[in-house]
């Protein structure tokens, strides 16, 4: 496959095209893009799930650790490449040690750089010898934690190799907390990493960055992001409503709409107390019951919410949430019969209401996350469309303003 920039004049604000994907001829994808695991996309293999925090300190001299379902596994470059050869992804990253963050020591950073370079060489060697990976693209992984010198060393070293592009790694340890990193935290390091990489190659940056930060990174010259952010938002019962394009009619998404949106009620005068339980709206969890029906309900609750929620601190996440998302678990949506977003064309917004989604989340029903995922992914993909349009029309600044504008979510 090929990555072609529309203009190599500047590193930043770049539009690119991925084409000639052997497995999907005729498909052309524009960047900046969202890495999405869907039918009409190339498949990309990363090492960890960017939406799940990677435990710290489990890498050793020759291997890194991953956590599949049946317990921790250690991978060295050969084992890793065996798996890659079995998967045959269209694109993948070399094995790397990215176990660094803002707080890492110099020693840890240097270890991660040196190991990653060693891993990289071994992976590349296997890649070049491999028959089945002839159609796959390999990416080098830039490490260096938050050390300028480290970044320079790692990037400069990788710059000379015949790879398709790069993953900028080592900024965080994945998981929902990445949302709390601001662009300022990472700007210097990112700039340093990108400075020494060839302009014309593809760059990916993993992590649950919030939309404002994504825009700033696009400005610096990142071409692809993953969908861990909309996933994380869904997992905590959030619906993205930030303005995701420039010319959006600013339809207020306030819950006061509910007062006007309710359908006419039937003739029956029904007082709230006539619900089966006297307290129909307070929600303490159901006590454990003996019968099998209840037991399987409890099991269902456990099962459905097993992947919920990272541990952002309350104040940080609520600050962020207010800008970008609605929190559908909030009681105030119980009788809000408006759609998540009036200007969204996704199935959820066309066919369902906030009140219904609130109910589904309260009752731990699978359809809740299904509807939120449909909306959040759609909203986020539209965001990326807007990014590309804004770059082409030189209006990224306007988009930035629109995205970060506080929505009235009282």
């Amino acid at each position: 496959m090929k990555f072609i920039l529309s203009s190599v004049a500047s590193c930043s604000n770049r539009i690119g095209y991925i084409k000639d994907i052997e497995r999907l001829p005729g498909l052309m994808l524009e960047t900046p893009m969202l890495l999405l695991y869907a039918k009409e996309y190339f498949t990309f293999c990363s090492i960890h799930d960017p939406a799940v925090a990677t435990p710290y300190g489990f890498n050793d001299k020759n291997t890194i650790s991953i956590w599949p379902r049946n317990g921790r596994k250690q991978l060295d470059p050969d084992k890793y490449m065996d798996m890659i050869e079995a998967f045959q992804p269209d694109m993948y990253q070399a094995l790397c040690d990215g176990d660094t963050d803002l707080k890492s020591s110099k020693k840890r950073i240097h270890k991660s750089i040196d190991k990653s370079l060693m891993f990289f060489e071994k992976c590349l060697e296997r890649h070049e010898k491999s028959e089945v990976l002839k159609k796959s693209a390999i990416l080098g992984v830039v490490e260096g934690g938050y050390s300028i010198e480290g970044r320079e060393k790692s990037a400069k070293y990788l710059a000379d190799f015949p790879v398709f592009g790069y993953v900028i790694d080592g900024l965080h340890k994945n998981g929902p907390d990445v949302e709390n990193l601001t662009f300022e935290d990472v700007r210097e390091i990112l700039e340093e990493s990108l400075k020494h990489l060839p302009n014309e190659k593809f760059r990916i940056l993993h992590g649950c960055w919030n939309p404002g930060t994504v825009l700033s990174m696009v400005e610096l010259g990142i071409d692809a992001f993953d969908s861990s952010y909309p996933y994380t938002v869904t997992e905590r019962g959030g619906a993205l409503i930030f303005q995701n394009c420039i010319n959006n009619l600013n339809i207020p998404s306030s819950a006061t709409d509910a007062l006007n949106a309710a359908e006419p009620v039937t003739d029956i005068e029904l007082k709230p107390e006539t619900s089966i339980s006297a307290q129909s709206s307070s929600e303490p969890p159901e006590k454990k019951k003996i019968s099998t029906q209840e037991a399987s309900h409890a099991e269902e609750d456990k099962y459905v919410v097993s992947k919920t929620q990272g541990h952002t601190t309350e104040s940080q996440s609520s600050r962020l949430n207010k800008i970008y998302e609605l929190s559908l678990l909030d009681e105030k949506y119980a009788e809000d019969f408006t759609p998540l977003s009036r200007s969204c064309s996704c199935l959820t917004c066309q066919k369902h209401t906030r009140a219904y989604i609130h109910h589904l989340l309260q009752t731990h029903e699978l359809l809740g996350p299904v509807l939120l995922t449909i909306h959040n992914l759609h909203h986020y993909m539209e965001f990326f469309k807007s990014i590309r349009e804004a770059i082409k029309s030189n209006s990224l600044e306007s988009l930035k303003r629109c995205v970060n504008e506080r929505n009235d979510v009282s």
Partner: protein
């Protein structure tokens, strides 16, 4: 929109009758949709069906589904549902809905349920206070939910109960039916079904039917028969009851849903069924097929790259293999979704086959073939042989000279 009779919100028309058994294929028109019977109604307990979109259900051919009055009456509560304009609007399901009375959950889920003439008294699971569910209140809540068909509050006893309690419950059920009918506000748009009780007593069942058919109702449910009773008692009660109930009104056998039971009870003249089984078993990784259940958690499916069922055209079988499903069942929520789609497709396709075979006068052949597929060694359970024989369908017996 179907033509609605003057007094009721339901019109039932038999299209074809099996000349051998008591099976019949009919069309039941309610306000929101036309429903082909015999029908299997999936259970969308809390106003949703295991992650499926209403669109997906429509695409699967589902015409009617259940909502659960106890659960919905608790969360989100009748007030919210009313403000939404009824359950149809709340969940955006535009086809038919049926709600049960809430009584069964009362008794099966909650400790210290006390049943008196007034109603069912129990302790609220939220704050321990006493709550009373009366026939009037049940109907009131079901009125606000707005389903096309609603159930009377009945005095339900476990099938294993014996003694005078069974008769007491049966008689009280009739009295409660009258109270429900009296409290019903929406006769023009919602139909109440009474529920035949009487445990496993021929006399009590007969008396129950006799009393219920004196009331002006558009259909009947058969209750108290999906619990721990023996299959032998089960089929006999169903057979007896359908003989006694009027032919020109739908018969709804509550809580029955295993494929084999569905086929037998269609032969016995039942028109409507509901059961949580297909969706519940999907959650545990089981897929339903014509030859039985596949437990996809089993290791033997790890490298099985067929779909669940070659002959199934559901979206899951179109795209996914057993091996993939094996990897994700009970781990990824989407597995529940994928298996629910398949299991519902299976049940609905089964019902379609039943209806078509009745209409084409080959229902007995269909039954024999169906049973032969499930019981490949032809060792049919005796109750099935007996039940079918009672309506003149004879299964090929296992060859008595064959080696076991």
């Amino acid at each position: 929109m179907p033509v609605i009779g003057k007094k009721t919100a339901l019109r039932f028309q038999i299209k074809a009758k099996c000349k051998v058994s008591k099976a019949r294929s009919s069309s039941m028109g309610v306000i929101h949709h036309e429903v082909d019977t015999p029908v299997f109604m999936p259970v969308g307990t809390q106003g949703t069906l295991k992650g499926l979109l209403p669109d997906q259900l429509e695409a699967l051919g589902c015409q009617i589904m259940l909502g659960n009055t106890y659960h919905l009456g608790t969360r989100p509560g009748p007030s919210v549902i009313m403000k939404a304009g009824g359950l149809h609007k709340f969940m955006n399901w535009n086809r038919a809905l049926l709600t049960d009375s809430g009584g069964f959950q009362m008794v099966s889920l909650l400790k210290l349920a006390e049943i008196t003439e007034e109603g069912v008294k129990f302790q609220s699971p939220y704050n321990g206070s006493e709550v009373m569910l009366t026939p009037e209140r049940s109907i009131e809540i079901q009125n606000s939910i707005g389903a096309d068909i609603i159930m009377q509050l009945d005095d339900v006893v476990r099938t294993t109960t014996t003694g005078p309690r069974v008769e007491e419950a049966m008689l009280r059920t009739t009295r409660w039916l009258d109270r429900c009918l009296g409290a019903h506000q929406n006769a023009a748009t919602q139909s109440i079904f009474p529920i035949v009780q009487g445990g496993l007593s021929k006399a009590l069942r007969t008396e129950s039917v006799k009393q219920l058919i004196q009331r002006d109702v558009p259909g009947f449910a058969i209750g108290g028969l999906s619990g721990g009773e023996s299959k032998n008692d089960f089929w006999k009660m169903v057979h007896l009851t359908t003989d006694l109930l009027p032919e020109d009104k739908p018969r709804y056998l509550m809580g029955v849903g295993f494929a084999v039971d569905l086929v037998v009870c269609c032969a016995l003249g039942v028109d409507m069924f509901d059961c949580v089984f297909p969706t519940r078993t999907a959650r545990f990784g089981c897929a339903l097929t014509c030859s039985g259940q596949l437990n996809l958690k089993q290791k033997k499916y790890a490298k099985d790259f067929q779909p669940i069922d070659e002959g199934c055209d559901c979206s899951t079988c179109e795209r996914y293999t057993r091996a993939y499903l094996h990897t994700i069942v009970t781990v990824e929520p989407v597995a529940c979704h994928l298996l629910s789609v398949h299991n519902i497709a299976y049940q609905l396709r089964l019902m379609l086959s039943i209806r078509e075979s009745i209409e084409q006068q080959r229902f007995p052949e269909f039954v024999c073939k169906f049973m032969a597929n499930i019981y490949t060694n032809k060792e049919y359970p005796q109750w099935i042989v007996d039940a079918l024989a009672a309506v003149n369908i004879h299964l090929d017996p296992a060859d008595p000279t064959a080696e076991n």
